[in-house]
């Protein structure tokens, strides 16, 4: 039995713990596997668990620790990490949540996954998602829905629903997701965790199954801003295999403690009065603005006059790129093949009809139509023009501010089946889509629970191109105000064998600012450690 409460450990705490030999990487891997085994039956975040890969990686970390070389290990040494199932990891299945790739085994490893492994992360498995990332609720997955850990009758958001739910239920401290129109930020918001969509080009897309190539970006989920920043440190940088990736030498943890004094925070009035924005979300975001102002930030009103057209542009550009990207799934070389066809045309048709689900088929047909002769000029070209306008809007706005604060999602998590109309579903991403269109970085930051629903609400922080450290800095300031994102209450005591020691983490150091979270025992490990004076105090937590 493990004598530490794995679920509460942040990446940073894991580092301290390994250094102090409070636990081994193997114990961490086993604890994470145990945690997944006991929790995921309810949440269904994992499509695949990879114990062998996790234990092998743990062994390498332990060997380095044993030989006194912990310093040579990367920043995520011993940290269990799981990946959205559109990310290739050699030898694992990469299904994209689709029948089409149900049995597809990766022949290579995605750069983002490799960088996590190089940083010492333990690969725990692959996470559920909307089919090919088409969706905002993870309901379009061919392999069942993932439940929101805060309310199992509600969706976790999507498309990276598995990634958000796995962190929110304390199965792993860090997961990766991908975001094409809000697919990291919206589920992070629904599940009350930190989710970062970096500036387009910051993280390599090589090996991540493409949805909208000009929109897709990979980013981390975590419960603390610092963990997200550590993950980002591992992920960023030029990749010779992705010619849209850019060099980056930023340490994203460097300015987290600097506070927001003197920072200019942009607020978009139109967003705050947008139709469909639920009052509890609006209230929370306004509350965050007040707190930032109180901390010394300058609040400036900015205009994004063309942002309203983002949705229209997105539903042209996204399907066009998706149509083309998904054309390789043709049943010939890999993937689902409908049997018994004598000619290629009928094999294509039958295999793609059966292999793709309704939302995927809808987007493929839409893209196919939008790119066809005579139609292209009417939609695709104007959509690109709109894209230029929106990009310019953000560029202008960031002349006046260092970071924009807005809602992430207009509402909190909805119930399964509650939204069946695709267009209404698409509106979940109303505040996130324009950021993908413009390529800026954006992240979702938990602001506690909604006054009405009692479910997590969030603010979205948006940064200028390649100034992602700006939004992380603001996020860290908010985190100090609101407290670290807790594990969803239903899962705080899920593992009986692990919870005996958790109390020692529960000593809240900032009770006064954590009032909005019901369970104060879920304080940040990092903060707790700081309060206790660092790793030495962990020695009392040695297992039996």
């Amino acid at each position: 039995m493990v004598g530490f409460d794995f679920k509460d450990l942040s990446a940073e705490a894991i580092r301290f713990g390994l250094a102090a030999k409070d636990f081994s990487a193997r114990e961490l891997a086993e604890a994470a596997l145990e945690r997944v085994a006991s929790v995921d039956e309810q949440v269904n975040a994992f499509l695949q668990v990879t114990p062998d890969a996790a234990l092998a990686a743990a062994e390498a970390v332990d060997a380095a620790v044993a030989s006194g070389n912990l310093d040579t290990l990367g920043p995520l040494a011993g940290v269990p990490v799981a990946f959205k199932d559109n990310m290739n990891l050699l030898g694992t299945r990469t299904t994209c949540g689709s029948r089409m790739l149900e049995t597809y085994k990766s022949a290579y490893t995605a750069t983002c996954v490799q960088r996590i492994l190089d940083a010492g992360g333990l690969p725990m498995g692959k996470l559920n998602m909307d089919e090919f990332a088409f969706g905002s609720s993870t309901e379009t997955s061919a392999f069942g829905t993932t439940k929101n850990p805060w309310d199992l009758e509600r969706v976790p958001g999507g498309s990276s629903g598995g990634s958000a739910a796995a962190v929110a239920s304390g199965m792993v401290p860090i997961t990766l997701g991908s975001d094409t129109g809000g697919s990291i930020r919206q589920p992070a918001s629904f599940c009350g965790v930190v989710g970062v969509k970096p500036t387009y080009g910051l993280v390599s897309r090589y090996g991540v199954v493409a949805f909208g190539s000009s929109l897709d970006q990979v980013g981390p989920f975590a419960r603390t801003v610092r963990d997200a920043a550590l993950a980002l440190n591992a992920l960023v940088g030029h990749d010779p295999l992705d010619c849209t990736s850019q060099p980056c030498a930023t340490d994203f943890t460097a300015n987290l403690d600097e506070g927001v004094e003197g920072m200019r925070i942009g607020v978009v009035p139109e967003f705050m009065t947008a139709q469909g924005l639920e009052p509890e979300v609006g209230e929370a975001v306004l509350g965050a603005i007040e707190k930032l102002a109180a901390l010394g930030a300058e609040i400036v009103e900015i205009e994004l006059p063309n942002a309203a057209a983002a949705m229209s542009a997105y539903y042209v550009i996204g399907p066009c790129e998706a149509f083309s990207n998904l054309s390789r799934f043709d049943s010939v070389r890999y993937g689902y093949r409908d049997p018994g066809h004598a000619d290629l045309g009928s094999q294509y048709e039958a295999s793609r009809s059966a292999g793709f689900g309704p939302e995927a088929r809808r987007r493929i047909m839409l893209g196919s139509y939008l790119l066809s002769a005579g139609v292209y000029d009417t939609y695709y070209y104007p959509a690109q023009q709109v894209r230029t306008l929106i990009t310019d809007d953000y560029r202008m706005a960031f002349g006046e501010c260092d970071c924009i604060l807005a809602p992430t999602s207009p509402r909190t998590a909805f119930k399964f089946g509650e939204i069946s109309d695709p267009t209404t579903m698409h509106l979940s991403d109303i505040f996130t889509i324009s950021i993908n269109i413009a390529g800026n970085g954006g992240m979702s930051m938990p602001l506690g629970l909604g006054s009405d629903s009692g479910l997590p609400v969030s603010a979205q922080l948006i940064c200028p191109w390649f100034k992602d450290e700006n939004m992380l800095r603001v996020a860290a300031a908010l985190e100090r105000e609101y407290g670290t994102a807790p594990i969803a209450p239903a899962f705080t005591d899920a593992v009986a064998s692990c919870d005996t020691q958790s109390v020692s983490f529960g000593e809240a150091s900032r009770n006064e600012v954590r009032h909005s979270f019901p369970d104060e025992s879920a304080a940040s490990t990092a903060e707790t450690l700081a309060d206790f004076g660092g790793p030495a105090s962990l020695s009392g937590m040695e297992g039996e």
Binding site: Y108, R205, V209, A210, C243, S324, L371
Partner: protein, 525 residues
């Protein structure tokens, strides 16, 4: 069916070419690091990118961009500084991603041209130019001494990737009809491929053939491709339509794809001219379609009818950033331009006094041009005298060997530039006759010996001693008094008879020029 010449009296053919050329001299593929190698075991040069595996991304090969800019500069194109790669969608297993990455409305190279010199029999196909005076023009053709010159516009040269190779099993001769299954080899998938598109400026099959040949010379001089027609690294699609002479509207065209020999290109177009004329003259309409040239049966058959244009759903490839070429880059490439075939031909004319015709044909192949230059260097002071005879050896004898034997390799054959100089020298000094020259050349090839050694061994030196020849001439005339009388009576055609008799007496070694001269003198007395 009428002959092409008959057809061309009433009809004008309008021909455009699309010529694909793989950049075989590069190390790696267009968008991944896989090695380029023809003939490797199937699917051994593949990776996630060229196999179109989920998540793989393309990264352009800079050396390929350099090559196409070089090709553009060599064919008088404007280089477009700002271009995009596009995705051209089509579902077929030879293209693993089910789209081909190619270029859109703007290609790296646009608006170029090449001038063609057409002469010999091929020039006769151009009926509207044939009877013009030298210097006179019709359309873009100008009549020359030996034929005509014509200006062919190049619309564009764009960069794209080649597809994999499909192998159909179970059908006849590897064809898809009747095949039970197909195999795909992706070694070729992603090979950098340049596609050149001409304006519809070509008027005869010979012009089309010459254009492709000249383009091949240019590409070879640039060292960017092996331009192997047999291995398919260079291949042409021919578009052709007919219109009544004097009309300016274009007729409906047919297209023949993947033609991989100069002769096939000529013959397929010539056949189409005749076929379309028959259709049109019979009151029918030409159907816009792709036709397949069957070189064995010497006809074209319908492959695919185009009711409507294919919809490739082209759009800019979002994985590849817009390509911006700097002036520095372009000038850097320009500095690498080698001497081009036309420049080389001009230099050969200038330096060694070759005629335009000879120079053009000497440089037709890279190896013959090099051979000629080495020979000229070795000829030293005699270079100018021997230039024409050596050019003749190249244009006539070596060309014949090359066309008779596909594996003919000038670089390794026994006939070296030094031996060419020696042979041409023997002939120029009248040491051997032109007939003997051929015999010596045969022997050089067969026995790998120097020409002088062959002449020595066979004792075949030409007799140019005037005294010895005069004795023979006198004897022949004395032996044929009746023929001498007939000649003097006006049957001057008998001169050949006397020459033949003299040569016979001298075992073929008499100098024919001297024999002729002496006979003419003595018979006219």
């Amino acid at each position: 069916m009428k002959t092409m010449e008959e057809v061309l009296r009433d009809w004008e053919a309008v021909i455009g070419l699309e010529i694909h050329c793989e950049l075989t001299e590069l190390e790696t593929k267009m968008f991944c690091g896989c090695k380029l190698e023809f003939g490797a075991a199937p699917n051994t040069h593949t990776c996630p990118v060229c196999l179109g595996l989920p998540g793989a991304l393309p990264v352009p090969n800079k050396a390929a961009i350099e090559s196409i800019v070089l090709a553009g500069l060599a064919t008088n194109c404007d280089i477009e500084k700002h271009t995009l790669f596009y995705r051209k969608g089509y579902m077929y297993p030879d293209m693993a991603k089910n789209f081909q990455t190619t270029q859109g409305p703007k290609a790296f190279a646009m608006r170029g041209w090449l001038d063609l010199d057409v002469d010999g029999k091929g020039a006769q196909e151009r009926l509207d130019v044939r009877d013009l005076e030298v210097g006179a023009r019709v359309q873009s053709a100008t009549r020359t001494e030996t034929g005509y010159t014509t200006h062919i516009g190049i619309t564009r040269i764009h960069m794209e990737e080649d597809a994999g190779k499909m192998i159909h099993i179970g059908g006849g001769e590897g064809r898809i009809d009747g095949a039970t299954h197909s195999l795909v080899d992706y070694n070729r998938a992603g090979t950098p491929l340049m596609e050149l598109v001409t304006e519809p400026d070509l008027r005869t099959p010979e012009e089309a053939r010459l254009f492709m040949q000249k383009l091949r010379q240019v590409y070879l001089s640039l060292g960017i491709s092996d331009c192997s027609l047999e291995e398919g690294s260079m291949r042409a699609d021919g578009n052709i339509s007919l219109r009544r002479r004097g009309e300016t509207e274009l007729g409906t065209r047919t297209e023949m794809k993947n033609i991989n020999s100069f002769k096939a290109l000529h013959d397929a177009l010539a056949y189409e001219i005749c076929r379309q004329a028959e259709v049109l003259e019979g009151g029918g309409v030409v159907v816009q379609e792709t036709r397949h040239w069957d070189p064995g049966a010497k006809h074209t058959i319908t492959m695919r009818t185009k009711e409507t244009a294919d919809d490739y759903r082209m759009f800019p490839d979002p994985d590849l950033a817009p390509y911006d070429l700097s002036d520095e880059f372009i000038e850097g490439v320009r500095a690498k331009l080698p001497e081009l075939p036309d420049q080389k031909a001009a230099r050969f004319q200038r330096t060694w006094g070759l005629s335009a015709y000879d120079a053009r044909h000497v440089i037709e192949h890279r190896d013959t041009a090099g051979f000629f230059e080495v020979a000229m260097a070795q000829a030293g002071a005699d270079a100018e005298t021997l230039a024409k005879p050596i050019a003749n050896l190249i244009i006539n004898d070596l060309a014949a060997r090359r066309s008779a034997d596909e594996s003919f390799d000038l670089a390794t054959c026994p006939f070296t530039p030094a031996r060419a100089v020696e042979l041409a020298g023997l002939r120029a000094s009248d040491a051997i006759s032109s007939k003997q020259e051929k015999e010596v050349l045969e022997a050089v090839f067969a026995e790998d010996k120097d020409p002088a050694v062959v002449v020595e061994e066979r004792d075949m030196k030409q007799v140019s001693d005037a005294g010895a020849i005069e004795a023979v001439v006198d004897a022949v005339l004395a032996a044929n008094p009746d023929k001498v009388a007939e000649y003097r009576g006006g049957k001057t055609g008998l001169l050949g008879f006397f020459v033949g008799q003299c040569m016979k007496e001298m075992a073929g070694q008499g100098n024919p020029k001297l024999i002729n001269q002496l006979l003419a003198e003595k018979l006219s007395v």
